[in-house]
């Protein structure tokens, strides 16, 4: 209880060290979510709209990637970016960029699979209509993503949540360097290993609050969106 107060005092007082850690958590996870959305949303929608050879294989593959343990993603990116690895020249290992790459790989399948699920029923509904106006591929994709937007937002939120909560991949490719690659989850892991269990738990409540804030604000935005639609 005492630790809980202490940790929250750090937040309230804007402790620069903790603020830097929270800031980096948000920068890494939100950037990764954005990149994953740019890749995952159109691909997920495309998988729902068009049938082509091997589509079934792609669908199974993309959903299977949901089961990827973060440590495995971290290890793969680690070996890729290591000086001894194929992309070693870039010198990206143990940087925030490496963490963004790992998280993007981790959450793209989530956004892709959930987007596909959101678009699929709409495609069946709109098929005849889109065919009658001879909508081109690009228009079709945009129309269906827009009409499935609430499902797509849920997909995005699931991705952000996974990115913010994940520790296995970022600790591996980031190295948990104080002031450089230390984020909320790796701080919690570190404090646990130091036996500071109460502090670790208190930092967990801070992380949860951040997640609630992000989810609530996006929920509000979509709430306003729906209301606007009704009264239009």
């Amino acid at each position: 209880m005492e630790m809980l107060t202490q940790a929250w005092m750090l937040v309230v007082q804007g402790d620069p060290h903790l603020m830097q850690i929270i800031g980096l958590s948000l920068y890494v996870s939100l950037t990764a979510s954005f990149l994953a959305a740019v890749i995952g949303i159109p691909l997920g929608a495309a998988l729902a709209i068009w049938s082509f050879p091997m589509r079934g294989v792609l669908v199974v593959l993309s959903t299977s990637f949901l089961a990827l343990p973060p440590v495995v993603v971290g290890l793969s990116v680690y070996l890729l970016l290591s000086r001894a690895g194929p992309l070693g020249e870039l010198g990206l290992l143990f940087t925030p960029t490496a963490m963004i790459i790992a998280q993007t790989i981790l959450i793209t399948p989530i956004i892709l699979a959930l987007t596909r699920e959101a678009v699929l029923p709409l495609r069946r509904e709109y098929d005849a209509l889109l065919l009658s106006v001879e909508a081109g591929g690009w228009l079709k994709l945009r129309t269906l993503i827009w009409d499935a937007r609430y499902g797509v937002v849920t997909a995005l939120l699931a991705g952000i949540g996974r990115a913010l909560a994940e520790v296995g991949a970022v600790i591996m490719v980031g190295g948990n360097i104080d002031g450089v690659t230390r984020v909320m989850t790796t701080t919690i892991a570190l404090e646990t290993s130091k036996g500071n269990l109460e502090l670790a738990l208190a930092l967990g409540t801070v992380l949860l609050t951040i997640a609630i804030t992000i989810n609530a604000s996006i929920h509000l935005v979509s709430l306003f969106g729906r209301r606007y639609e009704v009264t239009r």
Partner: protein, 282 residues
């Protein structure tokens, strides 16, 4: 959408360019990091030289692996045989002694195997094995784990059975488990003093010279990994073994106790403390 992507990508690129600043990457062990030593001595080094030190704190085995791949510039680790092998294989150069502390055996206050008055650590380990008292081993190829296995070998015991638990985790996680399981375990003194979740665990045995835990600094061989910042890394190595660096190590205290004893060659200013530095013979 595309504009945001471009902005984000250029931000990432800007960060990569930023990485050109003056810093070195040090792969080291959790014991040096978690004890708070780096938090005290590294700011002094940075203030004096303008070089930032990025610490990756992992087990000794993993630190050597990071060094072998060229992903760090300098190592500070604690397992002499592995260090010598690392240098002999051409991955590292200029290994120097820096400091040491010692390992201690901790366990439940009740001490079921009665190890507290053992004559030496081999006797303590033998008593634990004979009584089949629970023992938690790191089991992660860290310096601490390697040392523990050496002691079992000296005792002529092959530790197997349900009393011998391999956690496969770091020191902190292993201590957290020992507290719950009421098991014995071996830990370095620095981690033990700072550990915040001791519960009924107490230090039961320490002081055998066989529990000596020396740390060495090694530069990554630039002939093998040309991109390593060997010049900056050498400044760090020379600072660690200089009188200034050795004094900084010696002055570091955890709850009033000296946690690491400097032992670089030609050290003049080392502050000796018999309780914390039992293996001091030089």
């Amino acid at each position: 959408m595309i504009r945001i992507t471009v902005v984000l990508l250029s931000l990432m690129l800007a960060q990569m360019a930023h990485a050109g600043d003056k810093f070195i990457t040090l792969a080291s062990t959790t014991s040096t990091q978690n004890s708070g030593l780096f938090g005290v001595i590294l700011p002094q080094f940075t203030a004096q030289t303008g070089i930032d030190v990025h610490v990756i704190a992992v087990g000794t085995g993993q630190a050597l692996r990071i060094g072998r791949n060229g992903d760090a510039d300098v190592l500070l680790v604690h397992h002499r045989p592995s260090e010598n092998k690392f240098v002999a294989e051409g991955y590292g150069i200029d290994r120097l002694d820096v400091m040491y502390n010692d390992f201690v055996i901790v366990g439940p206050k009740s001490d079921p195997a009665k190890i507290a008055n053992s004559k030496n650590v081999v006797e303590a380990f033998t008593k634990i094995a004979k009584s089949k008292s629970l023992f938690a081993s790191r089991g992660d190829d860290s310096g601490t784990n390697k040392k523990e296995l050496e002691i079992w070998a000296q005792a002529g015991i092959n530790p197997t059975g349900s009393w011998y638990m391999q956690t496969g985790s770091g020191m902190g996680a292993t201590l957290n488990l020992s507290r719950i399981k009421d098991s014995y375990t071996m830990t370095d003194r620095g981690t033990w003093i700072t550990f915040g979740n001791k519960g009924d665990l107490v230090r039961l045995y320490s002081g055998d010279p066989g529990l000596f835990n020396p740390y060495g600094v090694i530069l990554i061989n630039p002939a093998r990994h040309p991109q390593t910042k060997v010049k900056l890394a050498r400044i760090f190595e020379e600072w660690l073994v200089s009188d200034i660096g050795q004094k900084a190590i010696s002055d570091f205290r955890i709850e009033g106790q000296q946690a690491f004893c400097p032992n670089a060659k030609n050290t003049t200013s080392a502050v000796k403390d018999k309780e914390a530095c039992p293996a001091e013979t030089k």
